[in-house]
Symmetry: C2
Subunit: 346 residues, 2 copies
């Protein structure tokens, strides 16, 4: 198989080059990596000065600021890689604040011995994902740790966005009676990574749902939907998102299990792996809380895969609970998993 | 010895708790860590909502945005630890843009098995360093990797600051004739970390110079000094800073070696370790480029340890070089070290 990333890599591959400790030393080798790998791929006039930080024009509005580190294993999986995750994950966290993503930082933590062509491939993925959503990588840092003290590539991306809506989007704005919308089927990202890691094959291949979420958020905001809260379903999946918002807002919720789409192959894989689809990580799924009167319009704006999956109830005497009405007509409570179902998933 | 950090740690230490994979899973254990360790220590109203990102008031000026990952080994050393480094390093990168540091993110990459009391100690150091400079940690992320795929604690901090000066501070503003100022003696940080790592003892103990640099920068700006460029001397030390600025500005420089303070014990340690003091990392030292007519006034503002160490010359026909006049009257050229003199120093 021809490795297209190896062919295009701007550092000659004759010697099968790998990351060396010196690439993190701040000397000529670091400079080389920056000039040959990062600058040509991320290139923009804000990054180009290579100063200690990027100097940005005043965006003139409230800002959103977020950070995320990505330690997914393996680095490459069906539907994405650590680079697409690193851009979309942080873009999505900004979108969940109702912000238009503007600028990203990229902090690389490389393990000595990483093939340079893998780094090149990851960097290319990041540039592609950034271009797709119109965000610029304006500042960065590279560190190298000895073989056996890292794991290929860890990437931290932090992001700055501008909030152009007058709404305050967050758990504090959730109200009793709000409808809960979900933008598509759940569980594919976690299962895709797990399948790659464990060498599992399923009857139909499962691809990560990794995707940027600013466009659907913008659609809701541009249409004037009174969005109360947004949350992407990453680690801990739908379960963590709903339980956390319920606890923050101090309001109980109900979810109709039958309205939450889970593909057959994902459901099957979850059964084999002993996982609960509600708690598996996604990278392109989010919930939106909107007033009930706006629910149908919002659902239409989010497209044919979106669904109203439940609603927010009035506070009762006890702690706020998230109750799921199962397809059998019984009911169960959602709770945060104690530990981790699937480690190193993002 | 009583371990004060262990005594104060809000997670009971009876069982000698360590970081588990589940602390990175986004479930109850993650929540516990955030609520018991991070929130009480970093606590501020911008971080408290624990949403996907922080929502910040519009600062109303150009912004500076920077990122840095910290992988220092060992985590604790004379004069600082990975936490103080992680705050001061990013605060200093903002200061070098002429920006007032406002907000930091904190991305923790923890190795399974890390004693919780070490994390607590690092987090406390970060909070102390942040308070000292008036910056707030407003958003964060925690990931855990399996034992043997990390090294205790890696921290990424990204920072946002506001540029209140009308000056454009950076390599592009350096002019022939500019004086180069240095704010104190060099080489202590790298040697302090190295000594701790290698178990070396020197006659007099060498402490890291780790310190925030916004105050001296503000002093220069408030006094109306026409600052052209600022650069802190981290990886690669004075050598990398001057060579990089010289290359970016396309202007040669001269440095008077005798004007660069190096403590006797640092000089001695460098001789033993085969290191060049000019290339050893610092964490509280920076160079400032100002017009020659302002040099003496700027030096006075930076205090008794500051010195004018050289100047910028006019561009000649060849590539820009940084020439050092030695104390013996000879001359040598500075060049970026090819690889890394001292790995894992920041």
């Amino acid at each position: 198989m021809i490795d297209e990333f190896a062919l295009q890599c701007p550092i000659p591959l004759a010697d099968n080059p790998t990351v060396q400790m010196g690439h993190g030393g701040g000397g000529r080798m670091t400079r080389d990596l920056v000039e040959k790998i990062f600058l040509p791929v991320f290139g923009n006039e804000l990054l180009a000065p290579l100063h200690d930080g990027a100097i940005l024009p005043a965006p003139g509005g409230r800002l959103a600021f977020t950070t995320d580190s990505f330690v997914v294993r393996p680095l490459f999986f069906r539907g994405g890689d650590v680079g697409t995750l690193a851009v979309n994950g942080t873009v999505n966290d900004l979108a969940m604040c109702g912000a238009r993503p503007l600028y990203l930082s990229a902090g690389f933590l490389l393990e000595e011995g990483l093939p340079i062509k893998d780094l090149w491939r990851v960097v290319r993925s990041m540039a592609g994902a950034a271009a797709a959503v119109g965000v610029r990588i304006v500042t960065g840092d590279t560190k190298v740790v000895e073989k056996g003290h890292g794991d290929g590539v860890f990437i931290n991306t932090s992001g700055v966005g501008v909030i152009e809506t007058p709404l305050t989007i967050g758990p504090g704005s959730v109200r009793p009676g709000d409808a809960i919308l979900l933008n598509g089927d759940i569980g594919r990202h976690g299962i895709a990574v797990m399948a790659e890691r464990e060498g599992l094959t399923f009857e139909s291949e499962i691809s990560s749902d990794c995707a940027p979420l600013y466009a659907p958020v913008k659609t809701l905001l541009d249409a004037g939907v009174e969005v109360h809260c947004l949350r992407d379903l990453t680690r801990g999946g739908l379960t963590s998102a709903l339980v956390e918002i319920s606890e923050s807002a101090r309001l109980p919720m109900r979810v109709d299990e039958g309205s939450v789409a889970v593909r057959e192959e994902v459901r099957g894989a979850c059964e084999i792996l002993g996982l609960e689809p509600f708690s598996v990580a996604n990278e392109g799924r989010f919930v939106a809380f909107v007033p009930a009167r706006e629910a149908e319009r919002a659902r239409g704006l989010l497209g044919p895969e979106a669904a109203v999956i439940g609603g927010v109830e009035s506070a009762g005497p006890g702690p706020p609970l998230v109750r799921v009405r199962t397809e059998l007509g019984t009911s169960r409570l959602l709770d945060l998993p104690s530990g981790e179902q699937l480690p190193r998933i993002c």
